[in-house]
């Protein structure tokens, strides 16, 4: 790993190779380094298209890091990461993609993540997206996430994409069995002419399954965002979607929250709020001595924290 690799990895995944945790770093479409543990095994797919990560039954608090870095212009990387989480296992998985595109060819990463949670498994999945570089080439991220949550399992997803990425199209689908819980928190900030699209489609199939999606986003300059979410209540279940966006300059946000009750005992809620920063919030912070610019920065930092 060179200095640039380390710098990029640090942007999306806070791990150290001297730690005893499991990790797999992919660079420019190829494996860079890997470490496995007694409870976590990482196996490359035979066709070279990605990896399978297996976490043993009853594993306690495993930490797994799977960052992807792209340092070359013109790389279009596509990878399949399948997570097989054993019965009652507990794990935190930190993934992310960092792109540095200093030249004029486009660079993209399409990660397809599939989660299979066995009964009682509990997982926290943190995904960060970062891109920089002074070239003219576009930086594109199109992650696809498929979720299969077994009985009484729970998955908490935390995704962050703060500027830098020119175009992203994030698609998440999920199927939840009895008693399964899914919680998704998404933070997005776009600027300049960037575009970000999010599309959630969750099936609450099991009795007492529940889903909670919170999206907070800021669209600055001429950037555009589309937020689509569809929660299908197919059983006695609870689903809640909240989309909250701040627009600045000529930023556009299009929110399409959709809930679909297919069962009389489905309880589904959606909320969507789009607007500029409230004037009263700015006045309050300015009354504490902050300038208008400082007040705006504090409000946005807090909102996306």
């Amino acid at each position: 790993m060179n200095v640039v690799d380390q710098e990029l990895i640090a942007k999306v995944s806070p791990f150290n190779t001297s730690d005893s945790n499991a990790y797999n770093v992919r660079k420019d479409g190829k494996l860079l380094i890997r470490n496995i543990t007694e409870d976590v095994s990482i196996i490359s797919k035979e066709d070279g298209s990605g990896i399978d990560i297996y976490i043993k039954d009853n594993t306690k608090n495993a930490l797994v890091f799977i960052p992807v870095i792209i340092t070359k212009s013109g790389i279009n990387d596509k990878v399949y990461n399948d997570f097989h989480i054993g019965k009652n296992a507990k794990a935190t998985i930190m993934a992310g993609c960092a792109i540095r595109n200093n030249k004029n060819l486009d660079a993209s990463h399409n990660g397809i993540h599939r989660f299979y949670l066995d009964e009682g498994a509990k997982v926290k999945y943190v995904e960060k997206h970062y891109a920089d570089g002074h070239g003219q080439g576009h930086k594109t991220l199109d992650p696809i996430t498929e979720l299969y949550l077994g009985r009484n399992s729970s998955l908490e997803i935390d995704t962050v994409q703060i500027s830098g990425v020119d175009s992203s199209n994030r698609i998440t689908t999920g199927k939840l069995e009895d008693g399964a819980t899914l919680s998704i928190s998404e933070k997005i900030m776009t600027e300049k002419k960037q575009f970000a699209m999010t599309d959630f489609n969750i099936d609450l199939d099991g009795i007492d399954s529940s889903c909670h999606v919170v999206s907070r986003s800021v669209a600055k300059d001429d950037s555009k965002q589309v937020f689509k979410s569809n929660i299908n209540g197919n059983n006695k279940c609870y689903g809640h979607v909240e989309c909250d966006a701040i627009i600045q300059d000529n930023g556009h946000v299009h929110a399409i929250p959709e809930i679909n009750a297919e069962n009389i005992n489905a309880n589904l809620v959606h909320e969507a709020t789009i607007g500029k920063i409230a004037g009263e919030q700015l006045i309050k912070l300015m009354s504490l001595g902050l300038s208008l610019e400082e007040a705006e920065a504090q409000i946005i930092n807090g909102f996306l924290k």
Binding site: R216, S287, L288, L290, Q298, G302
Partner: protein
């Protein structure tokens, strides 16, 4: 320390402040009262710079602040507690207290101490977001804490009693008694509440955008209710 000279403010052809002249001394505790819609809140906002007067002058410690921004006035030593405390998504109570304290290096212990001073106990509060999950009374106390932390020369409170329950109100009175007794600063407090009026050194009565009375704390309630058919028997809420 604060002087308003011929301050006028008109909106929608209505004179909200009509040639206000006031001279406020250092280290005094002054209640501003008067009927609803008389111009009290506008007066407070004009002092903080949230609204700018159409004409007139405002001097603060002999500096003309008439055209200064809110932040510039805050830096000179004016603080403002809002009638409706502002809520934020993502900003915690600890965040807002750090922003309020001048050096931004407020420790958790110091933040906890100031919350205790305004009647909020429990360290877990520090990491809570300043949002709808807090009660009206809690938000009000946090709002007051942000003002106390600033150690300003002039503290303005806009109807601190509005929207809080009786239990919280009793505690609020004690907070203002403490401010009165301990702070070396000037306090302007807009209120309808007799119990807050009672602890003030001086009273300013505003009626129809004009200063109707400014002087020692005499029994002002009868004067406020002079137009009320119950002559003060209405607990003053109609006034």
């Amino acid at each position: 320390m604060l002087e308003l000279i011929n301050v006028c403010f008109t909106r929608n052809n209505k004179k909200i402040l009509d040639n206000i002249n006031l001279k406020i001394d250092t280290n005094s505790f002054i209640a501003i009262t008067g009927p609803n819609g008389s111009g009290k809140s506008t007066l407070a906002k004009i002092i903080m710079g949230i609204e700018l007067p159409d004409s007139g002058k405002i001097l603060f410690n002999n500096i003309d602040i008439t055209n200064l921004s809110i932040a510039e006035r805050a830096k000179l030593g004016i603080s403002f507690a809002f009638q409706q405390p502002v809520k934020f998504k993502g900003i915690t109570i600890y965040d807002i207290l750090k922003l309020a304290s001048s050096n931004q290096k407020l420790t958790k212990l110091e933040a906890y101490q100031i919350l205790k001073e305004v009647g909020i106990c429990g360290e877990e509060y520090l990491n809570r977001e300043l949002n709808n999950s807090l009660s009206g009374g809690e938000l009000k106390r946090i709002e007051i804490a942000t003002v106390l932390l600033r150690n300003s020369k002039l503290n303005i409170f806009d109807e601190p009693e509005a929207g809080i329950d009786l239990w919280s109100f009793n505690n609020l009175i004690n907070i203002f008694k403490n401010i009165h007794n301990n702070l070396a600063s000037t306090t302007l407090i807009i209120t309808h509440q007799e119990r807050i009026l009672n602890i003030a050194d001086k009273i300013i009565l505003i009626k129809n955008g004009k200063v109707d009375y400014f002087g020692e704390n005499i029994n002002i309630v009868d004067s406020i209710c002079s137009n009320c058919p119950t002559k003060g028997g209405c607990n003053h809420e109609c006034c």
